[in-house]
Amino acid sequence: MAWTREDMAMRAAKELKDGFYVNLGIGIPTMVANYIPEGVNLILQSENGMLGTGPFPYEGEADPDVINAGKQTVTELPETSYCSSAESFGMIRGGHINMAILGAMQVAANGDLANWMVPGKMVKGPGGAMDLVAGVRRVVVVMEHCEKTGASKLVTECSLPLTGANVVDMVITELGVFDLARGTHAPVLLELAPGVTVEEITAKTQFAFTVALT
């Protein structure tokens, strides 16, 4: 039985370490905040200029001037600070953020990531994704293993335009976990979801990988 979205978020949360400053993308990555392991204290960064992003406000207490990078209303914590977008991306580009967890359309064996445009479709723009993958120290991708068509999203080479080259450290899908190490070595399969076999994940993965189950 493959992992659910919640399971995937829970697995990604295990990568978080005490004292980390973390940027979470939209979708499953946002859910990671619900599964922060006990004893791990971290500070969430929102690239629109909020460090120390708290939970959604109680009903009736939303402040239009307190939003996260997904434009959702959030709240302050005692440790919260605000800054300009330039300073916020200085944190990102300058390597001060320990980890980014984000979604993707394709990830290649060499750590290339594509998640911002599909040729022929309306392009919404890269937002902060290119800055995050280029600047954050460790980049973890959480995504579905295959497209709805059945095509693998773990590819030998990205066919979609890149968001970043050699930027992905780890990929978590509903089938398992791969170490990509930004392309410094061939992909390694580290974990399988319960009930998933090496044969099944191999059949659904375009890139070649070695197996070192932990």
């Binding site: 959604f56 001037d65 977008s85 991306f89 200085g90 994704a129 800055d131 280029a134």
Partner: protein, 240 residues
């Protein structure tokens, strides 16, 4: 000290608008947007504008107002996903878009305002947005050159400001406003509160008045929320 305060938004932009000009507008989504000043630009009828803003507003608000009237020829933005009208004008070729990574956009504006013509960044290396840009290697890593950005006019939104143009922003409504305040040939700030000079506290000023030419207090709030998310109170949850 020159009094930079103007009584009305129309006065604050008087003489500053012309066809074909470039305009920076602060804001992230509709948070921290100088909405009343944008409405004046709409009403002025100036056309063929290049707008520089992280987003292009939403339908019917912020820079979305200038899309409705067809006044925008080009946008320099990082993300325009929340605007159907923009999508329509872009797909039919009515509007040109130059996408910038969000951090690159912020830094280009910061650089422009600080007199820095260009800088190098890792962001975008190996992507379509690196095309045509100079690439250099520093310490074994690849970087691309991005240029500083200035505009004919910068519109910013501040929480409080005084008659000298010193500004204080509020929470995440700060976003792109501080850099944009520095990068306009003229800068006009829309304030929630115009306060007496000397009451902000010199240590609290986010944008020193030298960057600001005119300020205007705008009434008619409350502010809109783009995506309202809440959670139930613990006692409510317990009773349920």
């Amino acid at each position: 000290m020159v009094d930079k305060a103007r009584a009305r938004a129309e006065e604050a932009l008087d003489g500053l608008l012309f066809d074909g000009m470039s305009i920076m507008a602060g804001g992230f989504g509709i948070c921290g947007v100088p909405e009343h000043l944008i409405a004046v630009i709409r009403d002025s009828g100036v056309r063929n504008l290049t707008v520089i803003s992280n987003n292009c507003g939403v339908d019917g608000a912020a820079l979305g107002l200038l899309l409705e009237t067809g006044q925008v020829a080009k946008a320099i933005s990082s993300y325009v996903g929340e605007n159907k009208l923009f999508a329509e004008q872009y797909l039919t070729g009515k509007i040109e878009i130059e996408f910038n990574p969000q951090g690159t956009l912020a830094e280009r504006i910061r650089a422009g305002g600080a007199g820095i013509p260009a800088f190098y960044t890792r962001t975008g290396v190996g992507t379509p947005l690196a095309q045509g840009k100079e690439e250099r290697t520093f310490n074994g890593e690849r970087f691309i050159m991005e240029t500083g950005l200035v505009a004919d006019l910068s519109l910013v939104k501040a929480w409080k400001g005084d008659h000298e143009g010193n500004l204080v922003y509020r929470k995440t409504a700060r976003n792109f406003n501080p850099m944009m305040a520095t990068a306009g040939k003229a800068t006009v700030a829309e304030l929630e509160h115009l306060v007496e000079t000397g009451t902000l506290g010199p240590d609290n000023v986010h944008t020193p008045g030298i960057f600001v030419d005119r300020v205007v207090e705008s009434h008619a709030y409350p502010k809109r929320i783009e995506k309202l998310y809440t959670r139930p109170r613990p006692e409510t949850a317990g009773a349920a």
